[in-house]
Structure formats: C-alpha cells, structure tokens
C-alpha cells in the first residue's frame, strides 16, 4: 500500500463521521485538560507554599509545648502546659544567638466596636513579634517593651479588622472591647495574605502578651514561643542551646524526653511542601483516571465503529487491502482522535487553569513537560485502546464482512 495513503484513508474515515469523531475526542479533551489543570494548579499551590514559607520570617525557630508529635511536625501548636512566659524571657536573655522571643497565646473571640461585633483571633505577643515575622506596620506604631511590662491596654490590628470593623476608616486611637477589656488601637499591620494553613492572616488583633495572658485568655502557658535567631549560621547552635536551656529549666532528667518541640522554618516548609506535593499527585491521579476513562471511550467507539463499518472493511479487503493496512488505518484513526483530543485538552486545560488560578489567587504554573506528557499519554491511549478494535477489524473475513447489513 502507498505509505501516504494510510493516514489519508484514516483521516477521510474520521471526516466521514464528524459527529462521532468530535464526541469521542471529547473524552480525551476532558481527560487531558484535567491532567494539565490539576498539575498546573498543584504546582502553583506548591510555589505558593514556598512563597508563604519565605514570608514566615527569617531564621525563625518555633518552640511548641509537648513532645514531638507523630510525623515529626506540629504546625498547630500543642495543648500541653509546659512553656511559660519566663521560659521565653530566659531564652532571650540567656542565649546570645536569640535576638527575639515572643510567647504566643491565641484566643478566638468577639471584639466589640461601638455597636459592631466581630469574631476574630486575638494574639498575645511580645513587642518584637513583628520583627520575627518581618511584618511591617502600615500606620501607627507597635507597642513597646515597656508597654508589655505594664500590661498596657493597647492593640495592633490587621487589614481585615480595618475593613470589617472600621469599614476602612482610620482606626488609630479608637477603643475596642475584647471580653470586656477596653483596648486602644495604636497601629495597623500591612497586608499579609493567606497563610500556609489557608487562613487569612490579616484577620488578627495583636496585644501585649501580658495583657493577653492576664486579661483575655485566662491561660498561664504559651501555646508557642516564636524565636528569631541572629543569623542563618547560628540556627543549629541556637536550636541546641534552646533545647539545653529548656531541659534545664524544666528540670528534665537525662532519661526523660523533651516536654517541648523545637522546629525551624525549614521543618515547617518541608511538611508543607510535602503536603502540597501529595496533593498534586492526588489531583493528577484523579485526572489520570478521567484520561483513562476517555481512553475506554475511544475503545468503545472504535469497537462500535468496527462493527458498524464491517462492510467498509469487507470492501477494502475485497479491493486488495491487506490485514496490516486495515489494522494501521484503525490504529491511526484512534491515535489521531487522541492526539487531536490531546491538543484540544491542552487548550482547555490552559484556560481552565488560568480561570481557577485567578479565582483562587494562586499563580498558574504550566509546565511544558506536563503538556508533552499529556499528549504523549493520549497518543499512547490511542494506540493502547485502539489496538484491539483495529486488530478485530483486520481479522475480518471479506465475504462475511460484505454480507453484514
């Protein structure tokens, strides 16, 4: 058979059945689009996580109460009561590498401004917390160490609070009430965006930890101590010193386990990246399933089409087509279906990713690899699922085939 006639015959057959061609392609289009979108979004999410981790602050060490948890990472903070305010103070004063330490206490609570109520998180932190987090003040000021010492009734609020409670007006100097405690707003934080855990970080009120412990939360122990280390090279030695100091302060005998957990920003980053990597794989495999289903659709349609086109095959055989010619024709039909579907799927996938990424506020990442793989996979799907029907067609007996109605 003429070599260029093989694809010609296959393309003609596809054109003769436009509707079927389009419907069959749709399965592959959706499958490939799903793969591209999921991988794109997954990678976008990963890079966003990376970005978040960087925004966490520089050279940050977190000390959680309680022993190391399963999986090695505790992001949320323990509930054990082992870390005191004095621990935080000792860490700052006795370890030279530690330049800031803030004992944190959180309360989910209602804040009242005039006749407006708003549910938010109130954080107790030290005066240098914003330095640890590298979180600049937008207007007003942060409270001072002296204000922390005297349990001053002041607060610094995030952008969400400005929008939701003060309706965008300047809140500096205004009084808000938290659990009956009047607090004067002295500063507004700059916008920070979403956190690793997906919460809006700007939905926050920060008060001196003394005020938080004594007047608001009623707790006596820190949920976490945020620590900033002098520089990157001191991270390891600082961690060791922190561990030693806390063990000594907690009077732990050598055989006893730590009753606290020291983690660095990298630990948190690793956990988060791992999570998003797993998510990407999960999404991609779901998308892969839909590609597989699309492939089965191709096989189904090709099988039906072989039955439907038995007479056509019979005629081709009668005028001199050989079994391999017929096999190749049907195989090429399936592969072309899949390739066209793959290209359509890329287009749809790119659009879908853009739309979803814009909506979710993520960066959309397209990897050329994902696209090449998707098209390669769809061609493979074509060969794989097209082979059986093609083989069936090529095995037809010309007389039997011509006789079918």
């Amino acid at each position: 058979m003429k070599v260029s006639a093989v694809p010609y015959v296959a393309l003609k057959a596809l054109r003769r059945n436009k509707m079927r061609t389009i419907l069959t392609m749709l399965g592959i289009v959706i499958g490939v689009a799903a793969v591209i979108t999921m991988v794109g979004l997954g990678q976008g999410a990963s890079s966003e996580v990376q970005e978040q981790v960087n925004r966490l602050g520089q050279n940050v060490v977190l000390v959680f109460p309680g022993a190391r948890q399963l999986g090695g990472v505790s992001i949320g903070g323990g509930s054990a009561n082992t870390l005191t305010i004095d621990d935080a103070r000792a860490l700052r004063e006795e370890i030279p590498e530690v330049i800031a330490a803030s004992p944190e206490v959180r309360s989910q609570t209602l804040i009242v401004y005039g006749n407006r109520n708003y549910h938010t998180r109130v954080y107790g932190q030290s005066h240098d917390y914003l330095q640890i987090r590298q979180w600049p003040i937008e207007s007003g000021r942060m409270y001072t160490e002296e204000e922390v010492e005297r349990t001053a009734l002041v607060a610094v609020v995030g952008q969400t609070i400005v929008e939701e409670v003060f309706e965008g007006a300047d809140p500096i100097g205004e009084m808000i009430r938290v659990r009956g405690v009047p607090l004067q707003v002295i500063g507004v934080l700059s916008r920070k965006g979403m956190s690793l855990m997906g919460s809006v970080q700007d939905d926050i009120v920060i008060v001196p930890y003394t005020t938080a412990f004594q007047r608001i939360s009623g707790r006596s122990h820190a949920m976490v101590i945020n620590i900033q280390v002098y520089d990157e090279h001191s991270m390891e030695i600082a961690q060791a010193k922190i561990t030693d100091l806390l063990r000594e302060r907690h009077r732990l005998a050598p055989y006893q386990e730590n009753d606290f957990t020291v983690q660095t920003q990298e630990d948190v980053a690793q956990a988060a990246t791992e999570t998003s990597r797993i998510m990407t794989w999960l999404l991609a495999s779901i998308a892969g399933v839909s590609l597989f289903v699309g492939g089965i659709g191709i096989m189904n349609v090709m099988l039906v089409s072989v039955t439907e086109r038995t007479r056509e095959v019979g005629l081709r055989l009668a005028v001199g087509a050989k079994s391999p010619d017929v096999l190749l024709q049907f195989l090429i039909e399936a592969v072309v279906l899949c390739l066209l579907g793959g290209i359509g799927g890329i287009a749809l996938g790119v659009i879908a990713t853009e739309v979803i990424a814009t909506y979710a506020g993520w960066p959309a990442l397209f990897s050329t690899e994902a696209m090449i793989v998707a098209v390669g996979v769809s061609a493979a799907v074509g060969v794989f699922f097209g082979f059986y029907p093609a083989w069936k067609a090529s095995r037809l007996d010309p007389i039997e085939a011509l006789r079918t109605e």
């Binding site: 058979m1 003429k2 003769r16 007479r311 055989l317 009668a318 005028v319 001199g320």
Partner: protein
C-alpha cells in the same frame, strides 16, 4: 488461452456439526476475452463459485489457476494482491463507501496497490475509469446523490481502475430495473469488445442471453455449459426507446 482454469473445485461450509457441500467438483475453463454468465437456482452455489474465482474465498479442494498461477496455494497477502491487480469485482448491492465521492470510491483500489502511484496518477486513472462508465460529470457526487444505476456504474469504474484481467460480477443487475440493467450490460459488452474477460452471475435468463456462454449450476455441480449468440444490448436499448415512443403515442391517442 484460458485465463481461468478450475479443476475439481469443492467447497464445504461447516457450521458446528452440519456440513454443507456448496460446490461438489467444478471443472471450468474460461478463455481470455470471453463474456460468460452463470445461472442456477437460489442456493445452487453461484456466489460460492464467484467468491472463489474472485479470491475472496478459498476452495476446500481442487485447484484454481488464474492467469497461469495456481492461486489455490496462495497466502492471504498474495491473494490480496491478486484481488487488487488481476480481478475487478462488482457486487449486487454496489458496496460504495457512504459519504465518499464517486471519484474517491473509484480511487480506493489504487490506494492499496503496490505500484506506488503518484497522487496525480491515482486521480487521473480514477477519472478515466469514471469516463469509461460515462459518469465523469458526477465525480464529486456522494453515493446518496446517485441513482442505483449510476452507483453500479461507479462500482464498475472502481473494478476497472486497476486495469484487471477479468471482471467478476455477482448479480450486478439484481437491484436494478430492466432498463437500467440493460445499460449496465451495455457497458459490459463494450468492455468485453475491448478485450476484457467478464464472468457474471445472474438468475435472469433475459440477462444471461447478452453473454456468449451460459454455465448452469445445480446443487454445486455444472449441469450445462453452452455457447450462444449474444444479443446486443445496444439494439435492445434502441428497441426499448422505440417501444417507449409507441407506448407514449398510444397513451396520447387514448
């Protein structure tokens, strides 16, 4: 010279435990340039014989020499080549590809040819074959835009396009009215005059009389084989026109 030579051809169909002897020992010689027809009752084995002659099927026993070659020993690939090059086949129900133009239908056998023709040549040859059957002006029409007679003419063009040595036709006029049948037979006679060997199945003796040799089958055996003087389809067509004119006149006067 004999182009077809059958010796003791048998064909047995097996369906489970039942065996049907469709052909029970056929001896047949057809010389080059002959226009022959096979007749016989339904089930007598005409189509079975035709399929074997057309290399679409293989005999259970006996030998078949086509154009000097013993094709009963050929494998599937070689048979496909014979079907493509040496044989042109015309079917009762045309078997044109739907939604495919007449021209593309005629081009089809050339696509499967081993001669590796250029696209231009494929095109020209198909066009020429359509000219032979008088349908060059319908080249771009799909089968559903053509009458039954025209469709069969496209099918004949498709059979002719590879310049075969022998044209086989299994009831080529079976789906056509008598007038259109005559036109098809006329084409056959024209082709035969130019030297093409034609072998045709029919169960209408009216149609068989246009051929020069009539072979009759019964229960898988040849029961008669006689030479006749063929009627000319051209004359029959002319008479037909006269007849029509007379009938029309009668209708008008009535």
């Amino acid at each position: 010279m004999a182009i077809v030579e059958l010796k003791q051809i048998t064909r047995t169909y097996r369906t489970g435990s039942v065996a049907v002897d469709a052909l029970r020992g056929i001896d047949l010689m057809i010389n080059e340039g002959v226009f022959a027809s096979i007749m016989g009752a339904s089930g007598s084995g005409k189509s079975t014989l035709m399929n074997i002659l057309g290399c679409l099927d293989q005999p259970t026993g006996g030998s078949y020499h086509l154009d000097g070659e013993d094709v009963s020993t050929f494998n599937k690939n070689k048979l496909a080549n014979i079907r493509n090059r040496t044989i042109g086949f015309v079917f009762q129900s045309f078997h044109l590809l739907p939604r495919t133009t007449a021209l593309e239908n005629v081009e089809l056998p050339l696509l499967y040819s081993d001669d590796n023709l250029s696209w231009k040549e494929i095109h020209n040859r198909a066009m020429h074959a359509l000219e032979i059957v008088g349908l060059a002006d319908r080249a771009k029409h799909n089968p559903n835009e053509l009458s039954g007679g025209q469709q069969q003419r496209v099918a004949i063009a498709r059979a002719l396009v590879t310049k075969p040595k022998i044209l086989l036709a299994d009831e080529p006029t079976g789906n056509l009215d008598s007038r259109t049948s005559l036109e098809i037979i006329d084409i056959f006679q024209e082709l035969n005059k130019q030297g093409l060997t034609i072998f045709m199945v029919t169960h209408e003796s009216d149609i068989a009389r246009f051929s020069e040799r009539i072979v009759t089958l019964r229960d898988g055996l040849i029961i008669s084989d006689k030479k006749v003087v063929p009627i000319q389809a051209k004359t029959a067509l002319a008479n037909w026109k006269e007849q029509e004119a007379i009938e029309l006149e009668n209708e008008v006067t009535l």
